[in-house]
Subunit: 87 residues, 4 copies
């Protein structure tokens, strides 16, 4: 196993490789966190402009879906509700 060699013979090549991988991951995660912060800011801005963040989230989700699928899902939900005597 990779790291075992580090322990056994002091070879730090694996350590370098591991560090390299981890630092790349950390950098990417850091960038993701920054973007997530920005997203949060936009939602806050939306809220302070009188929009409902919860609704915006749903709209964003709907826009990501295939409209065909959205319709089909809606239809099925209504069919099930009607079968249950609701609505």
């Amino acid at each position: 196993m990779a790291s075992l060699q580090v322990v056994e013979d002091g070879d730090d090549i694996e350590g370098e490789q591991l560090r390299n991988l981890i630092e790349r991951i950390e950098r990417l995660e850091e960038e993701k966190a920054v973007l997530a912060d920005h997203v949060r800011s936009v939602y806050a801005e939306a809220k302070s402009s009188g929009f409902d963040p919860k609704i915006i989230r749903k709209v964003v989700r709907l826009r990501k879906m295939d409209p065909r699928d959205v319709d089909e899902e809606e239809t099925l939900i209504h069919m099930y509700m009607r079968a249950l005597g609701m609505e």
Copy 2:
């Protein structure tokens, strides 16, 4: 499709089946919610007795794992950390 028949010819057999399934799910979810409440109570009680709920959660998780796996994982983590020059 199942529910369509309900709409078309008034056959409520599918509706009955669907309602049956959904009510069973709802009953089970309700019982789960009650248990979740109890769990929360126990954590609150632990906290008021001076224990740290966060630590208790970790201990509960560790107890659920195979001790063999816990040790192996610990070992690997330390090997990686050492290879990184940490610890």
Copy 3:
């Protein structure tokens, strides 16, 4: 701190209390897991009867909500979509 006493003077009263709390949590979690299994079974049964589990999940969620809120949410979503020129 509680556990420190255990370390320091061998007093196992705190240990008993901690064990008691943890075992109660584990018992409750076990019961929750059993129920979650049952829920999964019902969804599997629903699926094998031709129902769409995903739709059933949505229906269950809708039934849990206040119908008033459901309507209001629907209305807002449509208002937002229209303002966006969708639909």
Copy 4:
């Protein structure tokens, strides 16, 4: 309410603002998704180099924490485990 005006008097200013907000969110989410893909690639590369992705994830998490907190948590966990007669 904002969108209501759109419906009532055809004023599309609110629509513009809403669209602006939503498009910013979508853009940011898209960038996040790209980064998440990159992260996944790095884990795949790590794995093909013989490292255990699961362990790497734990190491990344540990590195994100304050070392002081890590130690304190470890200590508490062991105290609790000992009080339980484990280890």
